[in-house]
């Protein structure tokens, strides 16, 4: 059997860190934000690009999941149309608490350039949104910065069960 010799008085000392429950829970939550692949339109391509080789989303702990039941954050990337609106509500309801929503791009924020009969004028008419990313389409850097801001927001919250579920109405 191998003998590991650890000098607890050197190299940063004991491998023990003291922290509070809130901090450690939020640390875990914020650094493993699994995102729902919700590429609706053009922004979905930039979302894919941010997950691909150059931008590499995995280093934030953000891994795209295909199922809402495994996802923490829904990145609404693209135009939400009135025909699709009911499905975004269904998928949002299927996600487990705590859950966050990033509205990516002008179309998801306000309807953007598609000021027409078929477009929902802002995804926040259907589900509550935590973060709005401007741009048409936002660059992958914007999305990654947005995720970092969301992590900051998560860290600022209490981690307990007493969190009020977000409801639009």
């Amino acid at each position: 059997m191998a003998q590991h010799k650890i000098n607890y008085t050197q190299d940063g000392g004991l491998p023990v860190a003291l922290t509070s429950i809130d901090k450690i829970v939020n640390w875990g939550r914020s650094n493993s934000l699994w995102a729902l692949t919700y590429g609706l339109a053009c922004c979905g391509i930039e979302m894919m690009a941010s997950g691909a080789s150059r931008f590499d989303f995995d280093r934030y702990g953000t891994i795209f999941r295909a199922s809402p039941r495994q996802a923490d954050v829904m990145i609404v990337a693209g135009t939400l149309t009135k025909k699709h609106a009911e499905f975004i509500k269904r998928l949002y309801d299927q996600m487990t608490e705590p859950r966050w929503v990033i509205s990516m791009g002008s179309c998801a924020n306000t309807g953007g350039m598609f000021n027409t009969y078929a477009t929902v004028q802002g995804v926040d008419r259907i589900i509550p949104v935590d973060l709005y990313l401007p741009g048409c389409a936002p660059r992958p850097e914007t999305l990654q910065y947005g995720v970092m801001l969301l992590q900051k927001k998560i860290r600022a919250n209490k981690a307990g069960n007493a969190q009020k579920p977000k409801r639009l109405m």
Binding site: G39, A41, S53, R54, A66, K83, F87, F114, Y117, R167
Partner: protein, 413 residues
């Protein structure tokens, strides 16, 4: 206040419980990672085999044709970006060409060369993206990462040219707004020199890969009659035995001056389509080399014009607008009221990476088109799933959707 939850009924409307056959109805989408967007498929299954497929589209219908009727021609240009958002310049170009044909405009040669470069870069970008996503759907993550790496290089070049990564709006009615930047040709050449090796890398990974072959060969066979009847174009048509490429048959721009071949196959299955995408990337690289020479010739012959000269329709150059009073007035009128093309109608087809991208414009002499119909290839490539999927098995659905290369901005418009 009492919480009002949603009113949505459980999602069983497409399932009938009292059927006495063994048919299962599988609802696929509209949010499915392999559906390349918002495709919803209702699949009737006997065990694992599909007996009836019913594609449901429209989940990305944004009313672009209606928007076109309410916009001046130049205003509509950014909207075309969002159609086939994998290769936006090809949409810009299709629309610009249609309007140019309508008003009978001849574009300067230098602008034509730059347009061809943009179009072919977009074609390679689109095919790389197709390769990446299809490989990812089938499970080859490595190819996804590789292909996106090369795509990012091209995006850098495009970004240096027009400032946008995805939605370029890089082509204007009457020409191009800018000359290419200094580093454009150097970057492009670096990329093109590497491209054959890159394509070979993908082929090494895929061509003899057993899983890839099993999911591609003899799957999704489209006969020649079916492909013609469904209005298939582009690689979908060429894989089914019709060598029809609009660049070759009805040349626009300077495609009659460049040498390239049109790859086609009569196999008609997924693998044939995959091979055609790969070959087309090589052909595009060939065209790009030639356009680089053509651009050098333009520089040598001092052909500096980038926009057509047509004061009734096209604004003058920036320099003229800033110095000439009349040019400024005319620019003001064109921006506020819009150009008024002649009365008439035009249908212009261009070969976008997906297939035949057509714009039908009916102009009644006003600044807004009276009717604009976007003929997007993916619309029919989605429709063919109705006839294509029955007889296949559930895992084949993903690879068939992958090789049809549908983009939902274009299907639903």
């Amino acid at each position: 206040m009492a919480q009002i939850t949603n009113r949505l009924t459980p999602f069983f409307e497409n399932i009938t419980f009292d059927r006495d056959d063994n048919e299962i109805i599988l609802n696929f989408g509209p949010q499915h990672p392999s559906a390349h967007g918002q495709l919803r498929l209702m699949l009737h299954l006997q065990q694992e085999q599909i007996v009836k497929a019913h594609p449901d589209i429209g989940y990305l219908h944004r009313g672009m044709e209606k928007m076109a009727e309410n916009m001046i021609y130049n205003e509509f240009m950014p909207t075309t970006d969002r159609m086939d958002y994998i290769a936006s310049s090809s949409n810009n170009y299709g629309f610009a060409l249609a309007v140019e044909k309508l008003i009978g405009l001849e574009v300067p040669r230098r602008a034509k060369v730059i347009r061809m470069m943009l179009l072919e870069i977009n074609r390679i970008m689109s095919h790389l993206f197709w390769l990446a996503t299809t490989a990812l759907d089938i499970g080859a993550m490595t190819v996804f990462l590789f292909a996106f790496r090369e795509r990012e290089y091209l995006m850098d070049i495009i970004e240096g040219y027009c400032g946008a990564r995805l939605t370029h709006s890089a082509i204007r009615i009457g020409g191009v707004p800018l000359d290419i930047q200094d580093t454009f040709l150097i970057q492009l050449k670096t990329f093109l020199d590497k491209l054959p090796q890159n394509i070979k890398d993908y082929e090494d990974l895929l061509d003899t890969n057993r899983i890839w072959l099993m999911r591609m060969e003899e799957v999704g066979h489209i006969s020649k009659e079916l492909s013609l009847s469904w209005g298939c174009t582009g690689p979908m048509l060429r894989a089914s035995g019709t060598a029809w490429d609009i660049r070759k048959e009805e040349p626009y721009e300077l495609y009659d001056e460049v040498e390239f071949s049109v790859p086609f196959s009569d196999k008609g299955d997924n693998f044939a389509r995959y091979r055609i995408y790969m070959e087309e990337m090589r052909e595009s690289a060939k065209i790009l080399y030639q356009t680089m020479d053509m651009y050098a010739a333009c520089v040598k012959n001092n052909q500096t014009e980038l926009m057509a000269h047509a004061p009734k329709y096209i604004s003058a150059s920036k320099l003229d607008i800033m110095t000439q009073n009349y040019s400024l007035m005319q620019h003001f009128v064109l921006v506020t009221q819009g150009m008024r093309p002649p009365v008439g109608e035009v249908y212009v087809a261009t070969e976008s990476p997906k297939g035949e991208l057509g714009f039908y414009i009916n102009s009644q002499g006003g600044p807004y088109p009276y009717r604009l119909k976007l003929r997007a290839p993916s619309f029919w490539h989605t429709g063919i799933l109705t006839d294509l999927l029955p007889g296949h098995y559930i895992p084949d659905v993903v690879s068939i959707i992958g090789t049809t290369n549908i983009v939902f901005g274009e299907v639903d418009r």
